[in-house]
Amino acid sequence: MSEAGDEWPPDLRALEEQLAGRRVEAGGAAFKLRVLGAMNAARRAPGRQPYTWWQAAAAAAVVLWMNVSFIAATETELRVGDPVTATERRESVRQMRELLPELTEREAERQLLLLQARAHTLLAPLPRSGRAL
């Protein structure tokens, strides 16, 4: 035990044996139950941890996606159905007929509607501020 071979005095060798045989009043049956309980609890915990992490990550991704979608939907201006008042329409028709007197009023209104519809045909939606997304 001493790793000292023959140099180790016999009385110290005897002392080592006494030390090896000493008793400690600790660790009864209740302690064993307590430790095994704690070990079982720790054993269950690591298995749950990655699953909980995965769930939390998925929930966070869903919330983020919903949030971005909501903002995009509410903040995007598609410019469909801009209100054009009757006065504006009449003025536009008048200006068209001034430039092209051969147009009938009906034809001028038709051209106006076509121009208006064409103006709303967008390749990409624009936010309300007018800047591209």
Binding site: M1, E3, A4, D11, L12, L15, E16, Q18, L19, A20, G21, R22, R23, V24, E25, A26, G27, F31, K32, R34, V35, L36, A38, M39, N40, A42, R43, A45, P46
Partner: protein, 184 residues
């Protein structure tokens, strides 16, 4: 590593049924002795040992890195117990030693009690080396690694500790008749 410990380590890694109870049965008594030797308090010793067993479970796959389960456990319990002893502080330790002195010291004490008392009066570093050597069966090389000291320091601490134990036990044995007479 001895085959029995090797098999146990394998079972722990695979989380086999009963492996943790076998670990407890095989190591708890000796680990408790080491923890008690360092902390000198039963509650702290038990808490330190529990910390070590729980840490083994939490280590999971990292246990594969352990080459010597015995040295690993005793190093861990030494650290856990030393931390608790430090948390208690020197005053608590002195109190504990005083209580032990009052409890013991009678002429009816056996050699075991006198040895336990003498052991408690050794400095922490020497108690740790003695316990790791005697209870853990660690080599001086393993003790040196565990305590982060040189091989020579570990070996000389052990020798000084045993010599001090022998001296204090002999001194107490010589004092005993006088103490016995005084009690009468």
């Amino acid at each position: 590593m001895e085959p029995r410990t090797d098999a146990l380590l394998k079972d722990l890694l695979e989380a086999r049924e009963g492996a943790f109870e076998r670990l407890y049965n095989q190591f708890a008594p000796k680990l408790l002795r080491t923890a008690y030797c360092i902390t000198r308090r039963r509650e702290d010793a038990e808490d330190a040992v529990q910390d070590v067993f729980v840490a083994v479970v939490r280590a999971g796959a990292a246990l594969a890195e352990v080459k010597n389960l015995n040295a690993y456990l005793f190093t861990a319990v030494h650290r856990a117990a030393a931390r608790r002893a430090k948390e208690r502080g020197s005053e608590e330790q002195i109190d504990a030693a005083r209580i032990e002195d009052q409890r013991a010291g009678s002429s009816h004490d056996g050699e075991g009690e006198r040895l336990a008392r003498a052991l408690q009066h050794l400095p922490l570093e020497q108690r740790a080396v003695v316990s790791l050597k005697i209870d853990g069966g660690l080599t001086f090389d393993e003790i040196a690694t565990s305590l982060n000291v040189s091989l020579n320091t570990a070996a000389s601490r052990y020798r000084y500790a045993l010599e001090k134990l022998r001296t204090s036990m002999n001194a107490e044995l010589q004092d005993m008749p006088a103490k016995g007479n005084a009690n009468v």
